[in-house]
Symmetry: C2
DNA sequence: ATTCCAGAAATTATCTATTATTCTGTCGCA
DNA sequence: TGCGACAGAATAATAGATAATTTCTGGAAT
C-alpha cells in the first residue's frame, strides 16, 4: 500500500504531482498546506466527501487555523473541495457527468493551446515530448504514468505562451488525475501511448489540425475510459 | 462621475455585475468582501496595479483581517489580483495579449457550452435571450450594456448543465468586462447587436454549428475591439 | 543633482485566545 | 418508532500581539 490513511497525525507520502517539493521558504504556510492537501486529494489519500477539519489540519501542520482557511479557499477555487458556510469544507465528489465535463473542457482548451503553441514548436521540444511519452510507457503505476502524461501535455502546450490558459488546463488536468487514480488504482497496466505518438508525428509533419483533432479525441477518451472501469462514489453533492 | 475614488473610508457604488445583492445572511463576510472588491476591480473603481492593504480594507468593511485575507485568495483564483508573499496583493494588470487570451478561451468554452446547451434550448429561452439583446440595444452606458450582454450569454449557455464550465466562462466574462470598462468608459455608444441576433436566428433554425461559429467570432471580436480604442496601462506584471 | 544607505515606519504573515452562531448527535419522552 | 430539547463540536470571526520583511524617508557621499 502506498498511501497511509488520512488522520489527525498520520504522515502521508505527498507531492506526487507537484514534484517541485522545493518548499522555497519564500512561499507561505497557506500555500504549502494547500499544495499538500491537493496532493492528498488527487492521490485519493483523502477520499471524496471526507470532511476537512481546520483545527485538525492546523494541528497536523503545526500551524494555526488562519493559513488553513486560506488554503481551503484556494482548494475551493480549484474545485477540489466544496465549502458550505458554517458547515466546513469537504473533498469534492465527482460524478460521471463531471468527469465528462472536465474532459470536454480540457479538449477544448488544449486544442486552443496547441494551435497557439504550434508555431513555436521546435524539434528539441518535440523530442522532449517523445521522452515523456517513453517515460509513460515504462511507468510502473498510475502515479508515474500520470506524471509522464502531464509532462507530455505541458511540454507541447507551454510554448503557446498563454499563462491563464495553461493554468486552467493544469487545474483541469488535476481534476482528471483524481478520477484516474480513483478508477485505476487497483488494476493498473501501462497503456503504450499510441495517441501521443500520433500527435507528435502530425506535429513533426506540420499538420497542426490533424494533431489537434487527435489531441481532442485523446483527452476525451481519458474522460470516457473510467465510465466502465471505475466504481467510484457518487459522493458529496451539496 | 459614477465611481468614487477608492480610499480608506470611501463609499462606492458596488455590485454592477453581481446584481444579486442579496447579501443572504447565509454567506460569510469573506464572501461579501470578495464580491464587493471584485465589483470595484471590474468597474475600474480600483485601478490596475493598485495595492490592496488588508488592514485598510478590514477597517473599511468593519471586519478583521482574517476574512479579508480569505477574500484575497478568492480574487487571486479569479485572476483579479496578483499576490506576492510578504508584499501583499495588487490589482492584476492586463496587457493586450492577456485580453486576447481571455477572448480566445471564452470563444472555445462558449462554443463548447453552446453545443451542449443546444438540445435543451426552448422557444421560451430564446425569447428571453432576445429580450436581453433588446435590453442591450437600449443600454445607456457600458455597465448596462455589459449586464445585458452577460445575461444573453448566460441565458443561451446555462442549459448545457455543466456547472464547472459555466463558472469558468463567468470568470472569463468578468475579465473581459474589466477590459471593456477600461476601454469604453469615455466614449460610449450602444452597438446594436447584430451578432446576438444572428446567433438567435441560427439557433431558431436549428443550425447549431452556424450559431457556434458566429458566437466564436463574436466573442473574439470583443477581445479585439479595444486593441485600437483602449489606451490602458501595461501595469503590474510581477 | 543623483545615487546609496541606514534607520524608521508600515505591512504582511502568523499565532494565541476568545466569542457568537450554527450544526450534529444523543437522550428522554410520547 | 418518531420527535423535540439540550449538550457538545465546529466554524466564522474578533482582537491583540509578534517576528520578519518591505517600503519609505532623510540625509551623506559622490
Amino acid at each position: 500500500m502506498w498511501f497511509a490513511v488520512f488522520g489527525r497525525s498520520t504522515v502521508t507520502r505527498d507531492s506526487i504531482i507537484y514534484k517541485t517539493m522545493t518548499t522555497a521558504k519564500s512561499d507561505t504556510i497557506a500555500t504549502r498546506i494547500s499544495r499538500r492537501l491537493a496532493d492528498r486529494i488527487i492521490s485519493g489519500s483523502i477520499e471524496a466527501g471526507a470532511k476537512l477539519r481546520q483545527d485538525h489540519i492546523a494541528e497536523e501542520f503545526g500551524a494555526s487555523h488562519v493559513p488553513v482557511r486560506e488554503a481551503f479557499r484556494r482548494l475551493e477555487a480549484q474545485g477540489l473541495v466544496v465549502s458550505e458556510p458554517r458547515r466546513g469544507v469537504r473533498v469534492a465528489g465527482f460524478s460521471v457527468e463531471e468527469v465528462r465535463e472536465v474532459a470536454e473542457m480540457r479538449a477544448a482548451l488544449e486544442v486552443l493551446a496547441l494551435r497557439n503553441a504550434a508555431p513555436h514548436l521546435t524539434k528539441a521540444i518535440l523530442d522532449q515530448a517523445e521522452d515523456a511519452t517513453r517515460a509513460g510507457d515504462r511507468a510502473g503505476d498510475a502515479e508515474a504514468w500520470e506524471k509522464a502524461n502531464r509532462a507530455f501535455h505541458r511540454i507541447i502546450l507551454a510554448p503557446c505562451g498563454m499563462p491563464r490558459l495553461l493554468k486552467a488546463i493544469d487545474d483541469l488536468h488535476t481534476a482528471s488525475a483524481r478520477f484516474l487514480f480513483s478508477g485505476w488504482r487497483a488494476e493498473w497496466e501501462a497503456p503504450t501511448d499510441r495517441d501521443h505518438r500520433a500527435i507528435l508525428a502530425a506535429l513533426r509533419a506540420g499538420e497542426v489540425e490533424a494533431a489537434a483533432s487527435v489531441l481532442a479525441r485523446h483527452v476525451q477518451w481519458t474522460g470516457h475510459k473510467g465510465q466502465k472501469s471505475s466504481p467510484f462514489p457518487a459522493a458529496a453533492r451539496r
